[in-house]
Subunit: 727 residues, 2 copies
């Protein structure tokens, strides 16, 4: 049989993807590859369910690391297989568990090209050119479903590779132990224990094939173990052979708890359903989630918008099994409190507290409550809220304690199912108990972080001030006056690092001396410098809880506006930029989070038109529908969430205030179907596409004098009408 | 207050140790230190319960490794604290978890001297000279109990060190994560996750003090974290301060599963009982265990004997909690099948299958059944029986699959509570499924291990032949004729490596050629040479299941006896000896296991008097009651078990045959109180102490023509009478 016939077969069996009203707008390839040398979104095109445990996607790197963190790069041309877990949009790589690769012989990779690759929410397919094998992937929450169509008459071999992972050595990554075992004529099972960015992960699997295993070979590293049905070791691979007259289906249930749980997950989620049925269910699940916002716009904008919405919803991720068990941060096995509830992880909080969690608390507060309760569970066993939680464990990535605004916001918005007392203990505990990066004894003593005691001192001082403001608001909300006063005072600590002579937040030592020389253009990374993944220009704007005071500090509205103008135009540099700096407009860097709220601050300067122009510019210039569609790492949906809010016409500059700054809508119309059954409608009345300046905006007929939209106003349902004119 | 008063106080409060009829004979310092340059028993003097999870003992090394594996060396003069877990008699170190050290200031070690140190089963005390603090330790199965008596008027500080461990880096040992947390005014809790010789251990603790914590300081490495009640990190220490007008008691429950389980263990085992009560209970528990054998002899012999018996009973170790939960080899949490049953680990099987497990199956078959069932549980999740199981995981130390003889022996002796079908699957599976060190495809193909395919080939060929014999016997016992035949044939594989021209077992390559040059004196270690921790001389005798064939191979009885004579007298060496070789008599090395049965083989030569003389000589010359009382590592009680059997007058040359070779009793009389309620009595009628030659021996009045004692004869109760004369 020749290649032509193979490809004819392929075209015949490929699923009709992008079936839904909303899912049809999603292009999972957006953000999966960067123009050479730039930052990509680090997204992946594979199959996943909303907030699912499994992310089943092609791996185009044998050992992904920083620049291909999700395992896939659109610029690559070789696929090494399909593994079951990964992160979306992070700068660092981890997970990447349990790789399968189909071959007619013993190949372990194949060329592919994008012409024969397709993806939609919950479905991915690619034609592996070297041997003419069609690979299709779909998912349930905890199960990866593979379908491999081999050339007629060929042998069907399947590599199961437990050694494949993100780069070994990076984050001290190493496999501690693993197992592959034949447990039935048509099933294998096993596990991998690995330490890396997440300090210790246990990943169990149960893998069921659509027909019996005909032959089986086990390897630990280069050494083959013959005549056995089990292998334990640290570099395990198995080659399985099958009769493949018809496509081979492989269902892989995973669990962080046990092989039994993995089998139960698989059975519960896939029993009696074939690949096509499961793919249709995945599409339907996405259709339901994406339909929370009904947007109208031109097709290209809708593609950007719904792909961004999709990207916000592929994490946080389930880490509890069907039976409710999960591995807690203390590595013990615990159970969710009630049937139907679930435990979640993947909290990239320094990123996602800004816009992603506010989006969740707006369009799906009940799911956000699950996320918050998972954070509170973390507090229970760990002693403080997560900084960056991965597979249930804190990796301490970045600074601040930004679970605090997420929890505070949910409590103050009155989210159902969150115990305010438990939440209070957690937010208070997390900003009073010293822990890595958060020496609160120093904070209390100095009123700022002295750089020689706690590096990244200016960034931490600014961000901790905001977290304290959040705790102060919860205290007020719960009637705790003393605590309100204490934390409200600390929320003003940022002022202690404002250097009036030069108009920047700047580092001090523990004696109170400004540290010289000071260069506002110079970038810091993640330690050893007062600024975190940014410079003094970018951190100048970080007082989200008290922008009025910031305006005053900078000399009033006009001076504030001038400084913003300089910020968006000054292209000078001083030394190397941090790796995370991309999507630059002057000193503004949309590719990393500290800049994200800054365009909206023109509202505080009293010149909202400048805000509107800049927001529109960022939407148009720094997002597109190619593989390099993001200006930097999507960071677990944060870059996407910025777009969702901004395209709708508002943004949570202070993500825990219950208020949004009004910007300029990119969409023509948008209906948010709220969980309480009400709708909030946003309309944009423009005469031509580039009418972007807000001539008038009315919320239920009333003009918002401060150009702010209240969360309460949205939740009550209603309509916000924009009239747009000029640019 | 001066030192004199302090010591007066100490003498007043020290417990009256060695209270029991049997425990009074135990000296836990035996085997705890070697004469400079030699091997010690690597035993420890601290407090432990029979088969307990906790081994609470002083650490005289900051980071123990090979030569001080138990953490304590009698030749040392400084104590660094008291940690809760360790191994007894191993060559490699691991465990060594959760160290406490008391100080009046911030000292982290103290001088001590043996004059003010005492130990008995379940109790240890030492006077820490630097600051005049009396430290006393006792235990329950899963809880360590400390009592610290500080000088009057001093501050009472306690270091809790989670960073203390066996040597980091050795076996890739590193701490993955740990936690210390204040959980009550008088309690802290936490855990340590560490990988090392055991690939991944989780050790949780709950630590309750007899009074509230007055002050608390936390450190991660050198960095202090202030103003917090919790610390997470990889190098954790806490300093706790207490009011110490009266002694401070500290109860530390541990668990491999969770903090909650550790707390439950502590509560269940210690609630309402003070230190003295718990120490008395520990002594009573030992009294009961040691009383299984009632021995009569001179006091020094009784001390050696009961200390050896004690050493055989401090492992295998509990790894299940009071509620029955434990961590299985697949790192999942499982539960023992029935209330009251328990899971055990610490199976140093290459050592202990020889004499320790036969001793267990003789004097406590029900406990041995628990051990066997724990091994069968290991088989269930791991796929083959353990090689060397530590904290529930296989570290693959040494060669062969010597859980097989242990399981086989227990099944064939009809031990209650073992499912023969489950046992059959396990023994058969473990000698047919290839795994590290056991390539059974090679075994089946060649009938021996070719050195270039599987190193340590001669030792493995000999030992695997024996394991196959065991499986063959079980097959026969269960009426499986085909399997009996298959494994009985493989049990003869050892013959394929017998080199008739030189009269040694020697290595072959895969083409069947003898590998040259061959040097029977040259030692191997643990890979890269055909012999394992021994030479060809030592492995010449390893056909325990077919000594008659071995006699024939070596040219008949006279030639066999001559070769034995040479073995015990030839002192030539060739290059370096292996580290484990000590206690030498000619080529015989009592310090390591391959030699252990050889003295008894004179019986097969038809010259039992030579066996008797050699056994007596080994008992007298290679055991004594000093800290260097063992000729080599005690190896989890194996050296001790050899002594117990030999002192009683018999030894299991083939540990799964149900037969014992009769030697010469060292004891004057001995009653084995069997679990079935019957007694087996052994008497030695001698006119002077050095009458060691057996003039006559009668089992229930009958002369054993083959100089063998049957297990069945013992179990039926009765008496074996020796008449001894001359030397």
């Amino acid at each position: 049989m020749n290649k032509y016939n193979v490809s004819a077969l392929i075209l015949a069996v490929s699923l009709n993807v992008n079936a839904g009203e909303y899912t049809k707008h999603v292009d999972p390839f957006i953000g999966t590859g960067a123009i050479e040398g730039g930052l990509s979104g680090n997204n992946y095109p594979g199959a996943t369910m909303p907030y699912g445990m499994v992310q089943l996607s092609p791996d185009t790197h044998p050992a992904p690391d920083w620049f291909n963190a999700s395992g896939y790069n659109y610029n690559d041309s070789i696929i090494y297989g399909f593994s079951h877990t990964r992160l979306s949009g992070t700068g660092a790589s981890d997970l990447i568990d349990i790789l399968l690769f189909p071959s007619t012989g013993n190949a372990t990779s194949s060329k592919f090209n994008h012409a024969r690759e397709s993806a939609s929410p919950g479905y991915y397919s690619v034609f592996l050119e070297d041997e003419g094998i069609l690979a299709e992937l779909t998912v349930t929450p905890r199960t990866g479903i593979h379908r491999y169509t081999f050339p007629k008459g060929s042998t069907g071999n399947l590599l199961v590779d437990l050694d494949h992972s993100a780069q070994k050595g990076s984050w001290d990554r190493k496999i501690i132990q693993s197992q592959i075992r034949k447990v039935a004529p048509d099933a294998i099972a096993g596990f991998r224990i690995i330490t890396g960015w997440a300090k210790l992960r246990k990943v169990y699997f149960y893998m069921k094939f659509s027909r019996p295993i005909a032959d089986m070979r086990f390897y630990d590293g280069d050494r083959e173990l013959r005549e056995t049905d089990v292998i334990n070791g640290k570099a395990l691979r198995a080659w399985l052979s099958f009769d493949v007259d018809s496509p081979l289906s492989v269902n892989v249930g995973i669990s962080p708890v046990s092989i039994e749980n993995a089998a139960e997950n698989l059975d519960y989620e896939t029993s009696g359903k074939d690949f096509d049925k499961l793919a249709a269910e995945a599409d339907a699940a996405w259709e339901k989630e994406l339909g929370r916002i009904d947007a109208k716009a031109d097709p290209e904008t809708l593609k950007t918008f719904y792909t961004a919405l999709y990207h916000t919803m592929i994490q946080p991720n389930l880490i509890s099994d069907v039976n409710g068990q999960y591995m807690a941060p203390d590595y013990s096995i615990r159970k969710v409190p009630a049937a139907g509830s679930a435990e979640y992880s993947t909290f990239s909080l320094w990123d996602t507290y800004r816009a992603a969690h506010p989006l969740y608390s707006l369009i799906m507060p009940s799911k956000n409550a699950d996320f918050v309760n998972s954070m509170l569970d973390h507090y229970n066993t760990y002693g403080y809220l997560p900084i960056w939680q991965l597979w249930g464990q804190d990796n301490y990535c970045m600074i601040g304690n930004h679970a605090v605004p997420v929890v505070a916001d949910a409590v103050m918005k009155g989210a159902d199912g969150i115990d305010p007392k438990r939440a209070w203990n957690a937010v208070k505990g997390s900003v009073t108990k010293s822990h890595p990066g958060s020496p609160f004894d120093v904070w209390n003593r100095y009123g700022y972080m002295p750089e020689e005691i706690q590096s990244q001192s200016v960034s931490i001082t600014l961000e901790d001030s905001f977290d304290d403001w959040c705790v102060a608001q919860v205290a007020k909300f719960l009637g705790k006056e003393n605590e309100h006063e204490f934390f409200a005072k600390r929320a003003g600590n940022y002022k202690n690092l404002f250097r009036e002579d030069i108009g920047f937040f700047a580092p001090k030592d523990s004696l109170g001396n400004w540290i010289e020389p000071f260069d506002p253009l110079r970038f810091g990374a993640n330690g050893g410098y007062p600024f975190t993944e940014g410079n003094a220009w970018q951190y100048l704007w970080y007082v989200p809880h008290d922008t009025q005071s910031l305006v005053a500090l900078l000399g009033g509205k006009k001076a504030f506006e001038n400084k913003l103008d300089t910020f968006f135009t000054l292209t000078d540099t001083s030394g190397e930029k941090n790796d995370n700096i991309s999507g630059s407009i002057g000193q503004y860097a949309h590719g990393n989070e500290p800049s994200h709220h800054v365009a909206y601050l023109y509202n505080d300067a009293g010149n909202p038109a400048k805000a509107q122009r800049m927001i529109h510019r960022i939407c148009k210039e720094l997002y597109n529908n190619t593989s390099s569609g993001y200006a930097g790492n999507d960071d677990c949906g944060e870059m996407s969430a910025w777009y969702i809010f901004s395209a709708m016409g508002f943004y949570p500059v202070n993500p825990a205030s219950g208020e949004y700054y009004i910007g300029t809508p990119l969409l023509d119309e948008c209906v948010i179907h709220l969980e309480n059954g009400k709708d909030f409608v946003i309309t944009a009345d423009r005469s031509k596409p580039d009418d972007i300046i807000v001539k008038d905006v009315r919320i239920n007929g009333k003009k918002p004098g401060d150009l702010k939209l209240r969360h309460k106003e949205i939740m009550e349902g209603g309509v916000m009408k924009f009239r747009l004119q000029g640019k």
